[in-house]
């Protein structure tokens, strides 16, 4: 860990000014659960840290709106996870938070920071001697041809197959969430599905956020499909583990046929992955086990296995299928 200067922002505008003034090597600090972890590993080595954790204007969330749910970027994962309206009306959103990390981490971590959680790829985290284009652009990718059991099957490139590790963003992707950000040039909104980039030939650039932009809040359009939803997460143990495969699913029915279907998958791709084709395959038909299985298979279409992770194609398909049946039971 190298020394860094620390400043505390009082307003969002001040935070953005501070990061613009700080230049390269400046990082926002919110819950600190990822940043500190990676600083201790020397993967992140900021020169300046701008602490935004005291920005009360971003700490609230409101799940009572008619047209949309609004989550301040600094709302705590644990607070939002246990919101009763969210549990009742959008169980997928609540479950995606409950099933992430541990209670201690959820108590610290912020919703906005969680969107930007970086990959768990060991070759990324543990530094030398591993090549990693994400950590050190141009050095190569040790994960390709390595122990890739947890690596991405979708959205990878010859330069990087690191899995996007988060759960919350996957659930948000299913619900067409929008992220409001503030930068030196003012505010803009980014659809969540456009927030994370595929690695392509620049795996070090993980999002479409500019380095000097701050996430202010996350907005989720209200939908009746929220009630019949789930975040189904399959992992190597029952708690405190990253997904081998996960699915955020929501469905609505008219006259026994699917009128709305939302499917996003996690743990399988380099970014939160919306499965539009799989959704379309369900519309207008009864949601049978066979239809759910077919949709699951379709969600994993195009998956490219490495050496140790091929089983997660079938596992991912079954995770989607099971999630659809869980959601249906809630309709």
């Amino acid at each position: 860990m190298q020394p860094f200067s620390y400043s505390r922002a009082r307003t969002a505008a001040e935070a953005v000014e501070a990061i613009a003034a700080g230049g390269q090597g400046t990082r926002f600090l919110a819950g600190g659960t990822t940043l500190y972890d990676l600083m201790k590993l020397n993967v992140e080595a900021p020169r300046r840290v701008v602490d935004v954790s005291g920005l009360d204007e971003l700490a609230d969330f409101d799940t009572s709106g008619e047209s949309e749910l609004v989550f301040g970027a600094l709302a705590k994962m644990s607070d939002v996870a246990s919101d009763e309206r969210l549990i009742r009306d959008y169980p997928a959103l609540s479950e995606s938070l409950w099933k992430a990390a541990s209670q201690q981490l959820r108590n610290m971590a912020s919703l906005g920071g969680n969107l930007l959680q970086r990959t768990r790829c060991a070759y990324f985290r543990f530094g030398e001697p591993f090549q990693c284009n994400k950590r050190k652009p141009g050095s190569g990718c040790a994960a390709i041809g390595g122990i890739d059991r947890g690596h991405a099957l979708l959205g990878g490139s010859e330069h990087c197959i690191a899995t996007y590790p988060g759960d919350w963003a996957v659930a948000l992707a299913a619900f067409d969430a929008v992220v409001d950000v503030l930068g030196p040039k003012g505010r803009r909104s980014i659809p969540l599905q456009e927030l994370h980039r595929e690695p392509g030939d620049s795996p070090d650039i993980e999002t479409t956020l500019a380095p000097d932009e701050l996430i202010l809040r996350i907005r989720v359009p209200a939908t009746d499909a929220g009630r019949a939803s789930t975040y189904h997460k399959i992992r190597d143990r029952e708690s405190y583990a990253f997904a081998l495969a996960s699915a955020a699913v929501a469905v609505a029915f008219e006259d026994g046929a699917v009128s709305e279907a939302r499917i996003a998958i996690g743990g399988l791709a380099t970014r939160p992955w919306r499965a539009f084709e799989a959704e379309r395959s369900l519309i207008g038909k009864p949601l049978t086990e066979e239809a759910a299985k077919a949709a699951g298979a379709r969600a994993l279409e195009g998956a490219k296995p490495g050496h140790h992770n091929a089983f997660r194609i079938e596992l991912g398909a079954r995770t989607v299928a099971d999630a659809l049946m869980i959601a249906k039971a809630r309709a």
């Binding site: 543990f126 583990a241 596992l315």
Partner: protein, 739 residues
């Protein structure tokens, strides 16, 4: 001998532990203390060509940077624990430029603050001459050593043979022949390896959690050119050992030398990733097990051949067949153990090191044999129960395995089991499997010297060689001494884990209780005799403190020496020099093991095939249970370990780089609470008076032996799949097979 079972008293140190009042090694911060951090090698093998510490030295607050260039003449190797020495590795890093494994320390930095030390350590730059590595059992470039033909001491590391196993197997009417693999695993106690080194008037004081204070003391003396009297080890509590802390760690002398150089106390807490790479671990292994039976179901032959991972520099000897050879009444047995040298730090003893793995192979084959014969797996084990040791033909000191099996079967409801694989299902299609397996672990004994002091205030202080590492030995000692002296357990204080008085022999191999408790009991007997000799005419019914007061004695001390049956008197010399001195399972007159039977239910969901273990029943024969509360906790903890070993834990190795990939406890997945269902524990609680007068055998390791095969057998029962590679994960049951 204790006629009555011991009462279920609370853990004597529970209150201190939950309040944080119990002080562990790294909790110490003597005045003026500085902080240390390590820089480690990024190559898998080779040689340091040059090392540049200038950037590290320039970090504000840095006091000292040491590399192999500084230490060659200052530290000598302590020798490998299994080769007459004291350390976890015979190769002491940082006294030569050679690198034998990735992650080996290349520099130690001492600074005013921990952040400065960490920052500086990351700035140490080395260039290496790199050599090719071989880190997996099957890799090209490994070297295979046949243990029986090696330099390892005999007869201890002779292959175990009885009858003619190859001939008997070839003629067996029913044969099982299977290959098993198990991965490298790491102990991962919550307490990291950490040391606080302090020099006072030429004496080195080390605060560090350990299972073997006496080896640390003698090893450090050897390394630093001191007398053992100039070294003191303070380890009243160890925050989990599981074999990882069974010897002198390679870091401790580095902290000691650093403290001497800066003339200040130095604290070095080793980060988890570095512990993964420099402390011991369970070696990867491969086994071929053959089991033959006649048509009636009598087992007539077993052949157990093993390949076990070792390091280049130290041979970690194995005793897999010590479990499988003595387990059942099989007249023809042949073990053959081979060691495979790879480029790694020395592997070592991780809880039930050979027994857990050996039981996985044998008990899986027993289950397979039961199906081949069409016999119930419990009945097959009972039919092949042994009444004498099949290898030596000596009797067992005690053996209640059959009772473990029958009582466990009754507690579990085994009679409701349908034999056919795939025959038990929940309404939602979840496959249910019930599995059983047995386990054993040697009942060993180490020599001990016990000093008991009684004060006229009523306190009793028992000083004996044993370490408190979470197993509850302080409670067991209190229970035994209190019962003998007729005083309350809380009046008994145990002085353990600190060198200088009674030798602090290695606490491992499940011999801690069977060593320290009988010694404490004998000391209490000696105390009762000494009290009687005080000559108080009305002694009967009076408390010891009253007798002392009446005699005008502020305190009274006694000392006894105790050794295992068959130990020569010279064993006390070995004990005093910090070398492992335990005996067992073979004693002159008998052979001693603890036994266990595990019954397991698994449930495998129909879609994503998660394997869950909602309930386990475990019944143990560990002789007399001295501390029911902590013993129950040991069994539950051991079962959790077994579930982890069977379904979760593997240290990932990338053959291109060496070392371990998932070197933290987020990615090395031990079980969490949500993974564990009901664990019901039963004790036979019959004393083994031949082994010692208290009648205790051992408990801490046998508890996990057999859990893994019980789970694998339950998975077979649920799915019809025989899975022989650990850990068993979703990908191994994703394909539902024909059921």
């Amino acid at each position: 001998m204790s006629a009555a079972p011991f009462p279920n008293t609370a853990r004597v140190d529970a209150f201190d532990k939950v309040r944080g009042a119990a002080r562990y090694g790294a909790d110490r911060s003597p005045p003026g203390m500085l902080h240390a951090a390590l820089a480690t090698a990024t190559i898998g093998k080779g040689r340091i060509e040059s090392i540049d510490t200038s950037a590290a030295r320039a970090v504000p607050g840095v006091r000292l940077v040491l590399t192999h260039e500084d230490l060659a003449s200052e530290i000598k190797p302590a020798g490998y624990l299994m080769a007459g020495g004291y350390a976890s590795n015979g190769l002491q890093p940082m006294i030569a430029p050679e690198i034998a494994w990735r992650g080996q320390p290349i520099a130690i930095v001492v600074a005013d603050t921990l952040p400065a030390a960490i920052e500086a350590a990351a700035l140490v730059r080395a260039s290496f001459a790199v050599e090719p590595i071989a880190v997996e059992l099957s890799a090209e470039g490994t070297q295979t050593v046949v243990q029986s033909e090696s330099q390892l001491p005999k007869p201890m590391y002779e292959d175990i043979v009885a009858g003619d196993a190859d001939k008997a197997f070839a003629e067996a009417a029913v044969q099982v022949d299977a290959v098993f693999t198990t991965p490298a695993q790491h102990q991962n106690p919550i307490e990291l390896v950490g040391t606080v080194a302090e020099w006072k008037d030429g004496t080195l004081i080390i605060h560090e959690g350990t299972q073997n204070a006496e080896a640390m003391r003698h090893g450090l003396a050897r390394q630093l050119g001191l007398t053992p009297e100039q070294v003191q080890i303070v380890s009243p509590y160890c925050g989990g050992g599981f074999g990882q802390k069974n010897s002198l760690q390679i870091y401790t002398p580095l902290a000691a030398v650093a403290a001497r150089r800066v003339d200040r106390p130095v604290k070095l807490v080793v980060p988890r990733a570095a512990v993964f790479h420099n402390s011991s671990f369970r070696p990867a292994s491969r086994h071929r097990f053959r089991l033959g039976a006649d048509k009636s179901g009598k087992l007539i032959a077993a052949i157990h051949e093993t390949d076990s991972q070792s390091s280049r520099h130290d041979l970690f000897p194995t005793l897999y067949a010590e479990t499988t050879g003595h387990m059942y009444a099989i007249d023809n047995f042949r073990g053959r153990e081979r060691l495979v040298r790879t480029d790694t730090q020395a592997p070592g003893y991780m809880r039930a090191p050979f027994e857990h793995v050996a039981a996985f192979t044998m008990e899986s084959c027993i289950d397979e044999m039961a199906y081949a014969l069409g016999k119930d797996p419990v009945a097959l084990r009972l039919a092949n129960d042994a009444y004498a040791d099949p290898i030596s033909k000596k009797p067992f000191s005690s053996r209640h395995l059959a009772e473990c099996l029958t009582r466990g079967a009754a507690m579990f409801g085994w009679d409701k089991r349908q034999m056919a694989p795939g025959s038990m299902r929940a309404p939602d299609g979840t496959q249910i499997g019930w599995g059983v397996a047995a386990g054993s672990y040697k009942a060993a004994t180490a020599p001990a010297i016990a000093r008991l002091t009684l004060t006229d205030q009523g306190r009793a202080i028992i000083n004996v060689g044993v370490h408190e590492m979470g197993q509850g030995i302080r409670t067991a000692l209190s229970n035994v001494v209190a019962a003998k002296l007729g005083i309350a357990p809380e009046l008994v204080e145990a002085e353990i884990g600190v060198t200088g008085a009674s030798p602090q022999h290695l606490t491992a191999g499940s011999w801690g209780t069977a060593t320290a408790v009988p010694a404490a009991s004998e000391a209490a007997d000696a105390m009762l005799k000494a009290l009687a000799e005080l000559g108080q005419s009305d002694a009967a019914g009076r408390k010891p403190a009253e007798l002392l007061k009446a005699a005008g004695r502020p305190s009274l001390s006694v000392e006894i020496r105790r050794k295992a049956p068959g130990h020569p008197d010279q064993i006390f010399g070995r004990l005093a020099s910090g070398l492992p001195s335990a005996m067992g399972p073979a004693y002159p007159e008998y052979v001693s093991f603890s036994y266990i039977a595990h019954f397991v239910e698994v449930r495998i969901e129909p879609g994503t095939r998660r394997i869950r273990v909602p309930r386990v029943v475990s019944v143990v024969d560990c002789g007399r249970v001295v501390s029911p509360r902590t013993a129950t906790s040991q069994v539950q903890g051991g079962v959790v370990w077994g579930i982890g070993a069977a379904l979760r834990e593997a240290s990932e190795v990338d053959p291109r780089f060496g070392g371990f990939l998932n070197a933290d406890i987020a990615e090395y997945v031990v079980p969490v609470n949500a993974d564990i269902g009901s664990i019901e524990v039963g004790f036979i609680d019959k004393p083994d008076p031949r082994l010692n007068e208290v009648g205790v055998k051992g408990l801490g390791e046998v508890v996990m032996v057999g859990v893994a095969p019980a789970i694998a057998n339950a998975i077979f029962h649920a799915t019809g799949k025989r899975l022989r590679d650990l850990p068993i994960r979703i990908e191994h049951v994703l394909d539902k097979g024909d059921l």
